[in-house]
Symmetry: C2
Subunit: 264 residues, 2 copies
């Protein structure tokens, strides 16, 4: 009987692996897999990863990760699945350890940085002032999912910020852009007219947090909708009530309009 | 002019540093500091850290971190401050980069795992079903701070889970215990009587998440208040409405009472 290691890759590339993860990958496991459908860090190059851990890395599809493929292999030997960010933030991987537990297969989690905590900090916003997180999906056959709008609305009512994760575009291998995301939010606003995304709303666009290509830019929807954040993983924060130090941080770290200092 | 590196230590010990952080600490910086007042991972031993990075590590007090001590040194050379978890989750460190920006000193953040995302995952709970996080402080001269109760109440009203971080006990060098935390929550409940912490509330106690000594145990307040979670960093999750897979995870991964499967 082997062990299934679920290993967080962190935010950017193979050098964000922890020393503990590197030791496990080099010394403890005989097969290494990675999934790149929950997120795809821009800097990641599978060949560089293979050189670092001195092993072949197999990219697994969602279908195979969600099947018993990994667990059947872990019955016989130690195997590792590398996951971008923290490995259990994607709820689909909780099923994997639940199934491991049921089948009597040992597992071990190696945590890592996640956009869920990196983004609030990188924006200079207080982590405890965030309400629940939401994900903005691409419209499906013309249908726009409005539940992210409701999450933002609920959070705003309590003065809280909202981290809006953007859907992955499987063809492009990166996320929906911040520009596309704001466009979708404005379309929902146009239909609902509940004043959740207003002309004077402060949004923050965050591209490739933690990497050399990180871009963090705060502003009104009209400021951000045309802004070029480059390729990679994008996210949006919809800002609630600002503590004065948060407003300062947005101005100094994210080039927000200075007038937000007056209201905070 | 030097660079100030803010480096996340992650959850447990020096082997949770990322490869990128190790490279910076060994090759880029001439002075290394660590703060251990926002959290103190049980497995951390400063001497092991020094051996790993091949440099002396100075433990800094809150007073010195919050002064201009580090920034003045970073004017002349590259220095690093190591912070448990993700370096910007502690809001006090956001002031540090804000001051660096104002003083024209370059800074670089190296993110790492934080309890804020590791704990939801390790419990098998969905990260996007958490409301805002709160910290339970020790009573001060007999006065019990009730704001964490209000945060839990607000979250529960929306069906959301609450991560309750526990104050650090600076004398013991570890956090308030889960048992002490539940006792304080029950005292607030006794005064407020708003049914936020009830006999049939499901709580999760989490000790030393991500480490070899990790203990995760779910149950009613009476089940957990006597439970021995050992030494180290403790936290509590107050559970809101459970999705069926979350209830399963709590039963299989955290030994929750099986009857929670019926309601989920």
């Amino acid at each position: 009987m082997g062990t299934l290691y679920l290993i967080g890759l962190g935010l950017c590339d193979e050098r964000d692996l922890t020393i503990r993860a590197l030791e496990v990958l080099r010394e403890e496991v005989s097969e290494v897999y990675i999934e790149l459908y929950t997120a795809r860090p821009k800097g990641l190059n599978v060949q560089n990863l293979e050189r670092l851990i001195e092993k072949k890395v197999n990219v697994l599809s969602r279908e195979l990760v969600e099947s018993n493929y990994l667990l059947n292999r872990a019955k016989e030997k130690n195997i590792a699945l590398i996951v971008p960010g923290d490995p259990l933030v994607a709820t689909t991987h909780i099923s994997l350890i639940l199934d491991a537990k049921r089948m009597g297969i040992k597992y071990r989690i190696i945590h890592n940085a996640s956009v869920l905590t990196a983004i609030p900090g990188a924006c200079g916003l207080h982590a405890y002032k965030f309400g629940r997180t939401t994900t903005l999906p691409y419209p499906y056959k013309g249908y726009i999912f409005e539940s992210p709008y409701d999450v933002i609305k609920e959070n705003l009512r309590r003065g809280l910020h909202t981290l809006v994760l953007l859907d992955l575009n499987p063809e492009k291998g990166s996320s929906m852009t911040i520009n596309e995301g704001i466009e979708i939010l404005l379309k929902i606003e146009e239909r609902r007219r509940e004043g959740v995304i207003r002309n004077d709303s402060i949004l923050v666009g965050i591209a490739n947090v933690g990497s050399e290509d990180e871009i963090i830019k705060a502003g009104y929807p009209r400021d951000l909708i045309e802004y070029d954040f480059g390729e990679g993983m994008h996210s949006i924060v919809v800002v609630g009530n600002l503590h004065f130090t948060e407003a300062e941080a947005l101005v100094y770290l994210a080039d927000a309009p200075r007038e937000i200092l007056e209201d905070a």
